[in-house]
Symmetry: C2
DNA sequence: CTGAAAGCGCTTACAG
DNA sequence: CTGAAAGCGCTTACAG
């Protein structure tokens, strides 16, 4: 894979100019006549010249490398998507990504040291799910961008999903389909995703004048948690018709609970919306699960763009970029239309009159 | 992130020797007295010296970089696991991975050119699922290792799962649990995974003297395909008790089919084993799905180890490393014990007497 | 066993 | 507008 091709000297010789002029002509940095520029470019093309990035990095003290530290890249499909977006943006900017995988909650890792030793221009630290973290102290906060994470202790910019907007989007979708008795199934974890989606739900229900019901079960937010939660929800309100699950896994638990155990079916009796757009789940469930896709690829993109400007950008405190989710429609939401199914009342009451069920 | 620390000159000054001696002492390449070596190392430590990898790469013409080209790293959790294994092995060998994501079936990609321009020492090309591919011509076959893929046209070493062994493992597990009427649900795709697992199934059934039944439905191997396949299987043999699904997604289709549509339950009436150990599915299904985990991380490891030796290794034609799968037990297999449930006959017949059902 | 010197392939003041 | 020269931080023949 070693490049045995022409170097800048060969190009210079072929074009009949000095290496300085080749460098200037190709980089556009110096003053070079158009004619010379043309000749140099022609020579470079015909020789298949590509600058040696290592030599360039050594001389210019810029590696054009971005470090990408990801927590548990393998355990969720999310990190992969962030990576793809980051990768694309990096390619467009002429940067390469150097990737390292660390355990969740890592403070110190020899791999991170290795990355620093590579003299990356900046670092991207991607969490495995939106939460508050402690950035490893090895990373220079002024040269680090956080993805799907937020560290209140430092001033690095962060790119995160707009969790509140996601809660609004999912809940409004159910409201627009005519549902009034909508429950939010969530977990008792103290992370921005849980908090933000719930606040979005409460806000949307408030707007619509519907009493909110939040069912909170012990985390993590798995199918099992969803199974437990929907059971509680149905005990609390046997007439509910809309379910906003914290994520697709919890939504899967709803599917598992309604079929065999009860005489309910989706979407006939219950409309369900999840979050994550985990294809493996959302596509495989019958009927397909409507869900809010998180902007992972876009987060990766934006993180790279921010990181590439980091050495130059002015430090801004609490610079956090919230990116919107996107509703992916499948078949789990029933349009109630003008005629209400079962008891679709509930308008006009104060949201504070709604229930919060906590299972522990 | 730029290292503003000591360079080799500072270490030399601190130790009272030349930079040559520092280089020799630290790399262990030249002849240096133990005493000098000790002094140099102490100086390096106290200054926190780390060699500049870029300078080293430029001078020694070895980048210590491995290119990792992955197809659609985001769409499956597999690629992530391969990456983690590769990452770990690379770290142990003092190598860094430079990662690029390409579309499935890519022949030409500017990202790959970029990787080549980085002067990586070798390349790893990881497919998104075990199949026959055409390696992009930009990659030097003598410096490329294939993962989860095989290109008959070139001589690059390849690291793949032992598909036949996986078929044997899954089928024998059902046989050992006392099942005799075991069906293999698969798809009509011409890839090594389909072919190998099926051959393993046939071999194991033959060993046990049980007639095999293969139900083949149109791909891809999704939950929907599994749903269709189990329907056909039950039409063909209403008394079957064991199901070896091509993968976890097809196994999920079996779960979806047995519950609501028929009076069958897992594992009471049907024992199911899948392949992939997709946590999102295998853990979430009720009962948990027993499945064969593919050796993804190990494949990544071995690929890096091979790649790191590639510039030195002798070219060996058709060097393919087959790594075994591992059975992950959950709750989807019932031990039939000594007393046969329903009709557990079927021994003694020739496998060729078995059926192959193809749905198109 | 130790060190002076060349050089990897570029970029970048600087001089003309 | 163009080019000679220095130098990024190492490694590596080579000489002593």
């Amino acid at each position: 894979m070693a490049r045995e091709n022409a170097g800048i000297r060969e190009v210079a010789a072929a074009a009949g100019v000095s290496v300085t002029t080749v460098s200037h002509a190709l980089s556009g940095r110096g003053q070079v006549s158009d004619e010379t520029k043309r000749r140099v470019k022609a020579a470079a093309d015909s020789l298949g010249y590509a600058p040696n990035r290592i030599a360039r990095a050594l001389r210019s003290q810029r590696s054009n490398l971005l470090g990408f530290v990801s927590e548990e890249i393998a355990t969720t499909p999310y990190a992969g998507q962030i990576l793809v977006g980051a990768q694309e943006a990096a390619a467009e900017l002429g940067l390469m990504l150097m990737i390292v995988n660390v355990k969740r909650g890592t403070i110190d890792d020899p791999q991170i040291d290795a990355l620093v030793a590579q003299q990356v221009d900046a670092m991207i630290y991607a969490s495995s799910s939106h939460r508050v973290i402690r950035v490893p102290p090895k990373l220079d906060p002024a040269r680090t961008v956080l993805v799907d994470a937020y560290d209140p202790a430092i001033t690095s910019p962060a790119v995160v999903p707009d969790e509140l907007g996601i809660g609004l989007l999912a809940t409004r979708r159910l409201l627009e389909a005519g549902h009034r008795r909508i429950v939010h199934l969530t977990v008792d974890e103290d992370v921005p995703a849980v908090d933000g989606r719930e606040r979005g739900y409460l806000e949307a229900m408030d707007e619509a004048g519907c009493p909110p019901v939040v069912v909170r079960v012990p985390g993590p937010a798995t199918a099992g948690a969803g199974y437990t939660a929907i059971g509680r929800a149905l005990e609390t309100d046997g007439d509910l018709t809309g379910i906003f699950a914290f994520n697709d896994q919890m939504a899967m638990g709803v599917y598992q609970a309604v079929g065999p155990d009860r005489d309910l079916s989706i979407p006939r009796d219950l409309s369900v919306v999840g979050v994550d757009d985990l294809r493996l789940i959302a596509d495989a469930l019958r009927p397909g699960l409507s869900t809010v896709a998180l902007p992972h690829a876009e987060m990766g993109r934006r993180a790279v763009e921010l990181a590439s400007r980091l050495p130059l950008a002015k430090p801004r405190r609490d610079q956090v970029l919230r990116l919107p989710g996107r509703l992916i429609e499948r078949e789990s939401i029933r349009q109630l239309g003008s005629l209400p199914i079962r008891d679709a009342s509930g308008g006009g009451e104060n949201p504070s009159a709604g229930a919060t069920v906590t299972v522990s």
